[in-house]
């Protein structure tokens, strides 16, 4: 039991910060429903990032509750009603902040991974 559960937890935890950002970023171009969103993230990452649906919907509902995205039911031509999410203004601001934070983090990490010569010699 615990193994099964931990797997979900780990994945959610690892992706927690980034998943939110990825969702917000993907919604920036156009409103999407859950399935399309997961597909878009997968495609845009070159099939590397596979969004776990067990984390996707909790994330979507959490972001909605924070007011960064808004949801709306839309009729689809294919059949079922779809819940379509779009980015709100606070969501846009949050995304900007997140992106810069992420950039700094990346810089820091690559700094550690590729130390400059002076430093390694000194």
């Amino acid at each position: 039991m615990s193994g099964q559960k931990n797997r979900y937890q780990n994945r959610t935890e690892i992706l927690q910060g980034t998943l939110d950002m990825l969702i917000l970023q993907t919604l920036q171009w156009a409103p999407r429903h859950g399935y399309a969103l997961s597909k878009a993230i997968r495609m845009n990452s070159g099939e590397i990032l596979k969004v776990d649906t067990g984390s996707l919907y909790p994330a979507l509902h959490r972001l909605e509750r924070k007011g960064w995205i808004a949801a709306e039911w839309k009729k689809s031509e294919v059949g079922p009603r779809l819940r379509v999410y779009r980015l709100t203004n606070p969501g846009k601001k949050h995304l900007v902040a997140e992106r810069s934070r992420w950039a700094r983090l990346l810089d820091a990490i690559s700094g550690v991974l590729n130390p400059s010569n002076e430093e390694s010699e000194g």
Binding site: M1, G34, G54, Y57, P58, V78, P80, R81, R83
Partner: protein
């Protein structure tokens, strides 16, 4: 609530729809890539993962998950309870009894001890006592000392005094004796209460020769003046004298019991008002707002020292002590109440443990169900929470039932309380009690729910599912045995306490009270107000009372006495045998009774030596006294006391001759007399009371009569016979000596009775607990027992196997319990008057009772085990 739930349901449906749409789109895509529909559905599902867990996690994000869960848990809890009505009924009943009894005790404690007094700023109200090193603080204060204190005090804003009074009211309405109080000015102001109408006494009225004024109670105002406002200013004939009504006391105003009339203390002309030695006044005072009791006490001590220097004869070794009024009112009841709450708490604890073991047994049986729920995606914390919700729901339900039980049980409790419970009028269920009941039920719910809750989901899932609910792990067995052990231990504590109390009451009631209380009546007599004018008239009136009472059929002997054994009210006098009186703080004190010659015959007190009084002991003859054997031993050890002389405070000039020695009377009651500080007793003849004290003595003389028929049947004829020539002479406060003797043990008996009930309950609950646990454990061992029987074990061996298991638990409990019982018995000796320490016999008997009950409870499961059919049992596995 309804709306919120509806909104939630819609949201749930939407979530499902959203996820369903996701799956549909995924399936469609899979089919487009060439799979069959069946394969596509499976692939989409696999891709998605655990749908319900995803739904659940998503719902968590909505933020009201806890509420939803809670409602769901409560519903689930109610449903499971309803599935097992037997279990639910036993658990609820147990809890309701436990929390009901606890709530009753708390309601009483709340009303009597915790609630502040209903006066403004009650914490600043204090009472002042006289204090001597030898006899402690149970003294009143004399009027001259009171006046000095009132004049000199700085730390007390107001100071007032009162003493008992009462007289015959003859107009308006019928002649009747009423209780009264003599009060100083500002008494109501000290308490901070306003009169219903009129005013308090003025300074000039609180003095000798002041205008006769009276404050009447609300009850008297209603009954005799029809509650009309014009009553103020009207006359009231009290003791044959006309008083002007100046005020009406507020409803329910009490000074040590109710009173109908309040008269100015300062107008009292009795000689004792002038004696600095006569410490009979109750004094109440109010602290200044910014001062503490300690500061006030320091000032009082200084004043006391000054007075002792100024009046060494009366005040040497005497000082004053201030106590909070609340403490004074509540008195000894406090320790008894806490003791009972403690005992009741133990019963509740047993009840909780019982329910815990029931729940645990059920939790183990439900392991499969719980494992299934984990497999379906329930989190561990969720399961723990759900178990706790179940027990909390159980606890709350039990608590609610308990409150109903308590509401029904409080009145009987207060009514059966021996004597009168102080502040009984304030005992009711209020928000404090409800809060208490709520926390007790939640706490007990948590208590008995914790073990099963923490235990259930930790087991290995797969194992559990495969094994089903059959195997009992060692930890579960240990926990169960622990529960039983605990129950036994607590039951032993209560049983031994109850047993020790019962032995105490039994041996106390065999004590010789020193009198023959059977068929004796004692009643106050209020002489006709017309006779109170002169001493000879009063003497004649009392002689007339005796003669008439003696003439009533069924009356054997009659006598007068100012104090009655075991009844409230006493007179203390210092005595000495040396030529000069010892310093006041070393003066021995005796209880003094003023009686007529037949008193010994009425009370059945044995004459040890010399003679008792006769009609020749009059004012004109030599003053004489009779002493009891205790005083004789103290004052004249190993000598013949008869013919010796005794100097007695406030009694005549020079030493008085002792003419007889009589048996000791347990005046302070059967339980308390042995520990009392003042046990010496002096009797002096009513015939030698000087004229100037006659009026005072007439106000508290009682008529006592030994009867040949039931004493209460004579109340009516006696009352008729003693109405007197003017028809306004009345009897009041009629008691039989049997009543008084039995009341003197009533508190001990009451505590014993309650403890017996608690101990019985504890024993019953412990037996149910043992039965439940053993039945459960035995049920788990059926396959093992089957094997044993198949291998040739006899029925007796199987029974012994089970009984041994139960005996181990019982003995372990007894070992722990005996230690607790020793401590409890010691506590009881401190808290209950006359209590004897628990004897080994009590322990032995109670332990045997418990073992017998425990074995009896284990017999049914043991017999059931011995009848196990090995074939069925083995196939069962």
């Amino acid at each position: 609530m309804r709306f919120a739930l509806w909104g939630k349901r819609q949201r749930n449906e939407e979530l499902e729809e959203e996820i369903q749409a996701h799956l549909t789109l995924a399936e469609r895509e899979e089919m487009e890539s060439g799979r069959t529909q069946k394969e596509a559905v499976a692939a989409a599902r696999r891709e998605f993962g655990n749908v319900s867990l995803a739904e659940e996690t998503t719902r968590d994000m909505w933020g009201w998950r806890w509420l939803v869960d809670c409602i769901q848990d409560v519903r689930y809890a109610v449903r499971t309870l309803r599935q097992k009505p037997g279990f639910a009924a036993v658990a609820l009943l147990t809890l309701a009894l436990g929390s009901g009894a606890t709530t009753v005790m708390f309601t009483v404690i709340n009303g009597v001890l915790l609630k502040p007094l209903s006066y403004p700023d009650p914490e600043r109200l204090v009472t002042l006592h006289g204090y001597t090193e030898k006899y402690g603080d149970n003294w009143g204060i004399s009027y001259p000392n009171f006046l000095d204190l009132r004049r000199e005090r700085r730390s007390l804003s107001r100071l007032a005094a009162w003493t008992y009074g009462g007289d015959t009211v003859s107009e308006p309405g019928q002649a009747e004796y009423v209780n009264g109080r003599q009060i100083s000015e500002e008494l109501f102001a000290v308490f901070g209460v306003n009169l219903l109408g009129g005013r308090e006494f003025r300074s000039e009225e609180d003095q000798r020769g002041g205008a006769p004024v009276v404050i009447i109670s609300y009850g008297l105002w209603q009954s005799r003046y029809g509650g009309r406002p014009t009553a103020i200013g009207e006359p009231l004939i009290l003791g044959g004298k006309s008083y002007k009504v100046v005020g009406i006391a507020p409803v329910g105003f009490q000074l040590d019991g109710g009173a109908e009339v309040f008269t100015p203390l300062g107008q009292n002309t009795e000689p004792r008002m002038q004696y600095r030695e006569a410490n009979f006044l109750h004094v109440v005072a109010r602290l200044l707002p910014n001062l503490t009791l300690t500061q006030a006490q320091a000032e009082l001590t200084t004043l006391g020292n000054q007075l002792a220097e100024q009046y060494p004869k009366a005040n040497a070794g005497r000082n004053f002590q201030a106590l909070p009024l609340h403490q004074e009112l509540v008195g000894d009841v406090e320790s008894t109440l806490w003791l009972l709450l403690g005992a009741v708490g133990l019963v509740l604890l047993i009840a909780c443990v019982n329910v815990a073991s029931l729940l645990l047994a059920r939790a183990v049986a439900r392991e499969r169900e719980l494992a299934m729920r984990v497999a379906l995606g329930a989190g561990r914390s969720r399961l723990v929470r759900q178990c706790l919700t179940e027990s909390a729901a159980l606890g709350l339900l039990g608590g609610a039932l308990g409150v109903f039980l308590a509401a029904a049980g409080i009145r009987p409790f207060v009514v059966f309380w021996p004597g009168s419970l102080p502040r009984a009028e304030g005992i009711r269920i209020d928000w404090r009690v409800l809060l208490f009941a709520l926390s007790v039920s939640l706490l007990s719910g948590l208590l008995f729910g914790l073990a099963p809750a923490l235990r259930a989901p930790t087991r290995d899932l797969e194992q559990t599912l495969r094994a089903g609910a059959r195997a009992v792990t060692g930890s579960s067995r240990r926990l169960h045995s622990g529960f039983v052990m605990f129950e036994i231990a607590v039951a032993i504590v209560l049983l031994v306490a109850a047993g020790a109390l019962a032995r105490t009451v039994l041996s106390l009631s065999y004590l010789d009270p020193g009198i023959n209380s059977h068929n004796v009546l004692a009643t106050h007599v209020a002489l006709s107000p017309g006779t109170l004018q002169s001493a000879p008239k009063m003497r004649a009136a009392w002689q007339d009372v005796l003669d008439r009472a003696r003439g009533v059929t069924g009356v054997q002997f009659v006598a007068l006495s100012d104090i009655i054994p075991m009844r409230v009210g006493q007179n203390f006098l210092g005595y000495w045998t040396t030529p000069a009186p010892p310093p006041p703080n070393e003066l021995p004190i005796a209880l003094a009774s003023c009686v007529t010659p037949d008193y010994l015959k009425v009370m059945g007190i044995p004459l040890r030596q010399g003679r008792f009084f006769d009609d020749h002991d009059r004012l004109e003859t030599e003053p004489v006294v009779v002493i009891d054997e205790v005083l004789a031993q103290h004052a004249f050890p190993n000598q013949d006391a008869v013919g010796k002389r005794l100097s007695i405070q406030a009694m005549g000039q020079g030493p008085i001759r002792v003419v007889g020695v009589v048996g000791h009377v347990r005046h302070w009651g059967l339980a308390s007399d042995d520990q009392a500080e003042i046990r010496d007793q002096i009797y002096y003849p009513f015939g030698q009371v000087p004229d100037h004290l006659m009026h005072l003595f007439s106000s508290f003389m009682s008529l006592t009569a030994r009867t040949t028929v039931s004493p209460l049947s004579l109340v009516e004829p006696l009352g008729r016979e003693l109405r007197g020539t003017t028809g306004d002479q009345t009897l009041y406060d009629v008691r039989t000596m049997d009543e008084l003797a039995s009341e003197s043990l009533a508190l001990q008996r009451f505590v014993m009775m309650l403890f017996s009930v608690f101990a019985g309950l504890a024993l019953l609950l412990a037996c149910i607990g043992i039965y439940g646990v053993l039945a459960y454990l035995t049920g788990q061992r059926v396959p093992e027992i089957g094997v044993r029987i198949a291998m040739g074990a006899s029925a007796g061996q199987v029974v012994w196997l089970i009984l041994r298991q139960s005996l181990v638990m019982i003995f372990a409990g007894i070992v722990v319990g005996v230690a607790g019982a020793l401590a409890a018995a010691r506590l009881l000796v401190h808290l209950v008057d006359g209590m004897r320490p628990a004897e080994p016999l009590t322990f032995t008997v109670m332990i045997l009772v418990l073992i017998a009950a425990g074995l009896f409870a284990s017999l049914v499961p043991a017999r059931r085990a011995s009848k196990v059919d090995p074939i069925v049992a083995l196939r069962y596995e």
